[in-house]
Amino acid sequence: MATRTIDSATTLVPRRSLGETYFGEWLMTTDHKKIGLMYIVTGFFFFLVGGMEALLIRTQLAFPNGKVLDPQTYNEIFTMHGVTMIFLFVMPILTGFGNYVVPLMIGARDMAFPRLNAFGYWTVLFGGLFLQSSFLFGAPPDGGWFQYAPLSEMAAGCGVHAVTCTPGANADFWVLGTLLLGISSIAGSVNFVVTILKLRAPGMSINRMPLFSWMQLVTSFLLLFALPSLTAASGLLLLDRHLGTHFYQYFYGGDPLLWQHLFWSFGHPEVYILILPAFGMVSEILPVFSRKPIFGYTFIAWSGVAIGFLSFTVWAHHMFAVGLPPVAQAFFATSTTLIAIPTAVKIFNWVATVYGGKLNLKTPMLFALGFVAMFLIGGLNGAALAVVPFDYQVTDTYFVVAHIHYVLFGGTVFAIFGGIFYWFPKFTGKLLDERLGQIQFWLMLIGVNLTFFPMHLLGLFGMPRRVYTYPADLGWNDLNLMASAGAFIIGVAIMVFLYNLVYSLKVGRKSGDDPWDAFTLEWDTASPPPKYNFLELPVVRSRRPFFDKKYPEIADWKTVTH
């Protein structure tokens, strides 16, 4: 408090408290919309970091016997590319979209636990900075994003003839960083589960909730049940490295394979964590831009739940080559085949949504359609990997790199950009430029296919993963060059997006409350929404409450019973 003196009296004059300044408002906010935006911006920043790492990888691999990166640096870069993209980009940005959009979609004022929400965000930010700070300490993680033991052990735990293993702090940064981020995800998941189950507007039964909320719900349960495996695995590794235990050290009766089982018990549900919210986004965008409801809402919702349950039964399909008994391999082949069925059903439902519609081919829709097209490829090559004898040949080769990037880039990232173009007007009140969006979409589509399709062939031709270079005489040169060219095209597309972002924030066209004539409740309020979201409780009588409000003669509740 400042004082001023008038005459001989002293009065107290209040200064603005920190929470009332622009900076302080963001620092101390518990508003789900601000927190959601912070998650999205932070996540996108890490996307750029991971993207630079990808470009470094592709530059090193563009030509045989590359000398751009030495082996240690390459191993650090490919490890951090995976860690950054998964833990610091996709998971936070999907949480961010969930944070912003889900309370609005279900007609709520905020998330159930606003302060826990803020805690979750700041943990991501500091966890991410902690992980990235490992570069400054000269010890970024270098054991792959999956950090297999015993390579991740200290030298003593690796066997005397092991070379180096991980004597430095690299693995410790990985363990502590992922633990921090896990804490954030658990906080977020608890929040989502309670919010979605308890804070829906009256009339919005769980059967009428938007599919994006459904997928966030399933994802949150997956996180809650999968992260403990990672925590256990990492905790045991930390103990091995620093407290003299021998969980993964075969010389002392431990077993390296324990790491793989624990890690993949997290790792497999994790990949569904990375894709289910994207499924949700696409299930929101396609109906609005086809001017008809989603085809087979119940089936899509329940297939999401089925995928959630089944995802805990398939983990060893990442381990077909480790020498499990054939009966065990047959079990995991069966469970993996089962999980393909609900995924296929979703794809058919999406195409059936588009079929017979009146398609508005704006950028959000292009990305959603691109998602369907690319995810189909990723699903097909994934189903191929489930064929165990074939997997014996192509696992740990570039064929798998093709698979993961078709589902994660052609899938999740396309959905994220669809979500960005779709909800940007709601967040900011302005539209992103449509022409630039189209250019970005086509560049990305071409880039993704040029980069990742050749990798199928590289895997078939024998190129292993995680190699810092390759010889010139094994016939892999042209395909690698093509992949590197594609990666730079993607880079150009991202730059187009960044320009679009800055340009539209400054002089973008005003969007109004409902630029897309959408169906769900988040559009039934201002763009951007006021702090309290809704002045009055929304009326919900069907799955498309806003559609019903705008078109009462053909409202859903008049034509169908949900």
Binding site: V163, Y252, V322, G357, T397, F453, G462, Y470
Partner: protein, 369 residues
């Protein structure tokens, strides 16, 4: 509304066709590669056979669904005056249909998968050549217990014989993969993994380490040399001989002295009799004696002169360029001895040798046929 950049309906099919054709062309480029489609043995054959089946099914599904998607996009894109579409919410009948039909297709593929994995797992009865395959960081050792010989980088096997590769590691996890002969099996410390295969054609086939194992995972290749039975027996016999002794006073004899001073701590003494060859599965894997001096860091070089590869396949030697007393500027071995860290950074070999020492060593190693 007219999309500013997208005109004409023909672009999509062109893109798809282009991708397909180029992949065909590129498939032809796999000729030099250790390609899984260029099989030389029954295990790889059954694994690749199933690939072609998957390819056909996946192509049919891909073309079908993408065509349906593209048709929907073109047929139903918004045009002026287009009426609002029927608000269809779903159809239980269609849902059941497109759940059951894919399930049937998938279960047929599953049946093939399970039968395939069991058949690949089961080593056929009959005599098999046992080879102990040891994954080091970052090179492969091959020990033949029946013959008491050990070698590195190149594994010789006779054509038409079942080979049983017993996989050992005393350091980190590696993976044993010879694409043209068999799918991979990981080499896990403490686990008794075994991979059987058979080669039906003579030839030399590349093998690769396919589990990230640290700094030089990229340079941990090996070769499987499939020989005629006679050639194989000749090879075994020559490997069983004591090491050649270079004539006194020759360049090779100088090399022998340098070797004894600088190289034996990692590479061991060049073998003089069979008993000194130690079974690495025992020597390098004994939890009760992890410091066993018999387990060497580097490969045994008793018959190095008969090999083509150095250091995990990072270099191939053309011995005609490495003749003693000749010009060694194109000799891969000389390059390696001059700067092993430059060629394979981080590997365990740290030496500084003068050019004269290198000449002597090359002469000595060349004589160790």
């Amino acid at each position: 509304m007219r999309m500013p950049l997208f005109r004409g309906a023909k672009r999509w099919p062109l893109v798809v066709a282009g991708l397909f054709l180029s992949s065909m062309l590129l498939a032809a480029c796999g000729e030099n590669s250790p390609s899984i489609l260029n099989t030389a043995g029954p295990v790889a054959q059954s694994e690749s056979g199933v690939f072609y089946l998957i390819l056909i099914i996946a192509t049919v599904i891909f073309v079908g669904v993408e065509a349906w998607l593209l048709y929907s996009i073109f047929r139903y894109r918004e045009r002026p005056g287009m009426p609002n579409p029927r608000q269809i919410h779903g159809s239980t009948r269609i849902e059941v249909l497109w759940t059951v039909i894919p399930a049937i297709i998938l279960f047929i593929v599953l049946a093939i998968t399970i039968s395939g994995l069991f058949s690949v797992a089961a080593q056929p009865p009959g005599k098999a050549l046992k080879v102990e395959v040891v994954g080091h960081q970052w090179w492969w050792e091959f020990y033949y217990p029946e013959y008491h010989i050990t070698t590195a980088d190149t594994m010789h096997v006779p054509v038409g014989t079942i080979v049983q590769a017993d996989l050992y590691s005393n350091n980190v996890i590696h993976s044993f993969w010879v694409p043209q002969l068999t799918g991979k099996t990981d080499v896990i410390p403490g686990h008794d993994n075994t991979r059987w295969f058979k080669a039906d054609k003579t030839g030399v086939y590349w093998g690769l380490c396919t589990e990230y194992c640290g700094l030089q995972h990229a340079n941990m290749k090996f070769q499987v040399s499939v020989d005629t039975p006679d050639a194989f027996n000749t090879w075994v016999t020559s490997q069983q001989q004591a090491a050649a002794t270079p004539p006194a006073g020759s360049l090779a004899a100088q090399g022998q002295k340098i070797f004894a001073q600088q190289c034996t701590s990692c590479h061991g003494i060049v073998g003089v009799d069979l008993k000194s060859d130690v079974d690495p599965a025992v020597a390098c894997n004994d939890p009760n004696n992890p410091n066993a001096a018999v387990c060497k860091v580097g490969p045994n070089l008793t018959h190095f002169g008969s090999r083509d590869l150095i250091a995990g396949g990072v270099l191939t030697i053309d011995w005609s360029k490495c003749q003693p007393g000749g010009d060694l500027s194109n000799c891969a071995l000389a390059k390696w001895l001059a700067d092993p860290q430059g060629i394979k950074p981080g590997n365990d070999m740290n030496v500084s040798l003068t050019p004269d020492q290198i000449k002597a060593l090359v002469a000595y190693l060349e004589s160790l046929k």
